[in-house]
Symmetry: C2
Subunit: 229 residues, 2 copies
C-alpha cells in the first residue's frame, strides 16, 4: 500500500473524535445546506429495503436511512468511528477497510438494493472496490457515489487526477492529521465506473442555493447487463 493510502486510512483513526463532533454538531456548511439531504433523497428515491453504507463514519447516514424504514449495514475502516456509530445505533456496523472488503466482499452481507458511498471514495485505485460493491448489489440494485464535484478545482490548479490534502479548516476543531485524498476528474469517475462493469443510470449535481455553483456530484449506477469483463 502506498504511503498516501496508509496516511488516508490512518487519518480517520486519528481524527475520529474531531470528525464525529463536526458531523454531529453540523459544522460542515455544505453538508448542512445541501448535500446531506441530497444523498438521503437519492437513496430513498429507489425505495431500497437493504442498504449498505460504505465508509459510514460515525453513522449519521445509517441512522437517517434507518429512520425511513430501511435495513442498513454500515462499514468503515476506522474502528474508532465504528465504535461511535455502534453507540448511537440505528443499524449494524462493522469495521472493515476497503482492502479487506475487496478480498472478501460478502463478509458484510449481499443482495443490497442500494449501496451508498457518501464522500468516502478517496483512494487512487478504485475499480477493484467498485467491482466488489457491484457484486453485492441485488439485480436492480443501485450503487450511489456522492463526492466532491470535480469543478472544485481552484484557479491555480490543473484539472487532472492527483493527490490533494484536506486540512479540515472551517469544519470544527481538534483535527490532528491532514487527510490525503485523490482528486478525480469527471472523466476519471465515469471511465472507472465503466471499467468496473457499471452503467450510469442517473447523475445529479446539487447546487449551492446562493452561488448557483455545484456543491457535489451524485453518480448512480447499476450493473451493466452486457458487461463482459
Amino acid at each position: 500500500m502506498k504511503d498516501l493510502e496508509r496516511q488516508l486510512e490512518q487519518s480517520w483513526i486519528t481524527n475520529a473524535e474531531a470528525w464525529t463532533q463536526s458531523v454531529r454538531e453540523k459544522q460542515i456548511e455544505s453538508r448542512k445546506l445541501v448535500t446531506d439531504q441530497a444523498v438521503i433523497q437519492e437513496v430513498a428515491r429507489h425505495r431500497p429495503v437493504k442498504v449498505l453504507d460504505v465508509g459510514c463514519g460515525e453513522g449519521w447516514l445509517v441512522r437517517a436511512l434507518a429512520e425511513k424504514g430501511m435495513e442498513v449495514v454500515g462499514i468503515d475502516g476506522s474502528n474508532e468511528l465504528i465504535k461511535q456509530a455502534q453507540e448511537s445505533g440505528g443499524g449494524i456496523f462493522y469495521t472493515v477497510n476497503y482492502t479487506d472488503l475487496c478480498n472478501n466482499p460478502k463478509q458484510v452481507g449481499d443482495q443490497f438494493d442500494a449501496i451508498v458511498c457518501n464522500f468516502s471514495i478517496l483512494s487512487e485505485v478504485i475499480v477493484p472496490l467498485l467491482q466488489a460493491l457491484s457484486g453485492l448489489l441485488s439485480k436492480q440494485g443501485v450503487l450511489i457515489i456522492h463526492t466532491l464535484h470535480p469543478f472544485a478545482v481552484t484557479e491555480k490548479e490543473r484539472y487532472e487526477d492527483g493527490w490533494r490534502k484536506e486540512n479540515f479548516q472551517g469544519m470544527g476543531e481538534g483535527y490532528q492529521a491532514e487527510m490525503p485524498w485523490y482528486f478525480r476528474t469527471m472523466s476519471s469517475w465515469l471511465n472507472d465506473l465503466h471499467h468496473a462493469g457499471l452503467r450510469l443510470v442517473h447523475c445529479k449535481e446539487p447546487i449551492h442555493p446562493q452561488t448557483g455553483k455545484p456543491l457535489s456530484l451524485l453518480l448512480t449506477a447499476q450493473k451493466a447487463a452486457d458487461h463482459e469483463n
Copy 2:
C-alpha cells in the same frame, strides 16, 4: 418550433460564409490547439468503416476522416454550408435538418460504425435526436458527442441548463447573426444519453496545454444492451 430553435437554425444559414472562412483559416484558437485533433483521434480509435458526421458544416471533419480511409456521410441543416462542403468533396453530403432527420433517420444511411456530433448539438430538446442516431448505429457502433465543456460557465452565471448567445467574437469576421445555443450541465448530458437508451463507454476532457483547464467534453456512447424504452 420555438423562436430560439428557429434562430439557431437560421444563424447557420446567415453565417455560412463567415463560418466557412473561420474554419478554413483556422481562426478558432481552441480548435487549432486541441479540439480538432481530439475529435479525429476519438473517431479513429474505434476504426470505423462507415461514419456519419451530424452537423458537418463546411465539411472539414468529413475530409479529415475520409483521408484516413473512412467512408463518410456529412449532413447539415444549412444548405449554404452543405454547398461549401460539396465543393470541397471528401464525402457524401446532404442538407437535412434535425427535425427531418428525426422524422426519417434512414434517409441518410444506416449501420454506421461511428456517428460524430462535433459541437453540433445545440438545441434544448435532444433525446429524440439521440434516439434517432442510436437507431442508425451498427451493433458495436459508437455515438461520439463533442461539445463545450460544462465548466465553461462564468463566475457570474449559475450552473444550470439554459439558452445562451454566441456572438462569434474572436473567431473571425463577417458574422451577421448571433447564435442562440442551449447550455447543458454534465448531469443533463449524461441523463439525456441514458434516456435515449445509450450507455456511456468513454469520456474524455481535452485540456488546454497551458492553463490546464478543460477545453471540451467528448462523450462516447453505445446502444445499451438492456434498454427497454
